[in-house]
Symmetry: C2
């Protein structure tokens, strides 16, 4: 019985890691599509999102079956409940990558980003890809220094998000309403992407340490 | 044992309804604050959001304890797992109401909404309040016609959200960048609020019928 349970739990963990790898691929392609006006990449992201959704559904079914058939307690129970939560979060991260790809597709063959914002979004994209990559690493290794680095990149995304508002509201901004709308939405998508990464970091932290970090810090994190 | 379980399950249901009532109050005040530039109301929403978060944490703890101690199966298990999901959704709805209040507060003593958009957001606000009120009703009665009406108001919110883009990108729009940013974000907040209402409607539908509606329809819903 225990062996079956361990195997099922392993499968849940593998599914989460697989979702995270797909999210990593999606945000990488979506950002490239956005920054280089690559229609083909944008289409790929939009067309592939259902794969992430499908794993979420399978994983949720498996978790509910696990709860019913194995009736786990203590740490095992926490792992299953957390998996239910993290799968929903990863599914949202996939949606956000898709939204970014949709903006890129909507403006093609033009670039969606007005030139003064390109550098900021290049940095946001790099931070979001790191969040995604580290989420995969965290889910497979449970190394808490990785959780700390996810929080740092989320802080960076928040700062860059504020920079986008500063640019839009500054005297130098002469973009069209469409450009203003796009920058506003894209900034929001990246900012939320970081938030979701932090949500996963905190859940893994909770699984490993039993402590849930409610404020914006991970034990061992340098204040910044 | 069964009596204790029933009482605990009842408490979980009561907590969800209580969260939903708080969300209803939050969106009602946030929208009024937005439409009338009422700083006091905006502050109330922002200051009260932690109450919703606190119920979510209590409820989640209670659900995990319930799973561990009572080891529910079949329908009971589905009810507990769904409660975990719905509490996260209600918490997000509270956050969105807070975001709307924050925009109202940020522009005070001015109104955040440029005049041509006031009517659209008055309608969005009315639809969002109906979604919130019906979510409370649905959670307390499980009446599926209410679920259907939530989907209808979500459709209306999507249409009104498209209207905001049409207004921003039309030739008549001469708003400032700040106004464009605010309308873009506010539209997104309302649109997401509706999505979350639908998410709860579908979870209750699943609990009652065992069917999970993946497409945008509830059995018995008129096509529109």
């Amino acid at each position: 019985m225990r062996e079956i349970f361990e195997a099922e739990l392993q499968q849940v963990g593998d599914d989460l890691a697989e979702m995270s790898r797909l999210v990593e691929g999606a945000i990488t392609k979506a950002g490239t599509a956005l920054l280089t006006a690559d229609l083909e990449l944008a289409q790929q992201v939009i067309a592939s999102d259902h794969l992430i959704d499908a794993i979420e559904r399978d994983l949720d079914e498996r978790c509910v079956l696990l709860l019913a058939q194995q009736q786990p307690v203590a740490t095992d129970l926490r792992v299953v409940v957390s998996a239910l939560r993290m799968s929903a979060t990863l599914e949202r991260m996939g949606d956000l990558a898709r939204h970014i790809a949709q903006v890129a597709r909507g403006r093609y063959p033009k670039r969606a980003l007005a030139e003064p914002l390109e550098q900021t979004f290049t940095e946001m994209q790099a931070a979001a890809v790191r969040v995604a990559r580290r989420t995969t690493t965290l889910l497979t290794t449970r190394d808490l220094t990785v959780a700390h680095n996810i929080e740092r990149d989320d802080d960076l995304l928040d700062t860059l998000h504020q920079d986008t508002f500063a640019a839009l509201l500054g005297t130098e901004w002469h973009g069209t309403a469409q450009e203003t709308v796009d920058v506003t939405l894209l900034g929001r998508y990246y900012e939320r992407f970081g938030d979701h990464g932090v949500s996963i970091a905190r859940r893994v932290l909770y699984l490993v340490t039993g402590q849930f970090s409610d404020d914006h810090s991970v034990p061992g994190a340098q204040s910044s």
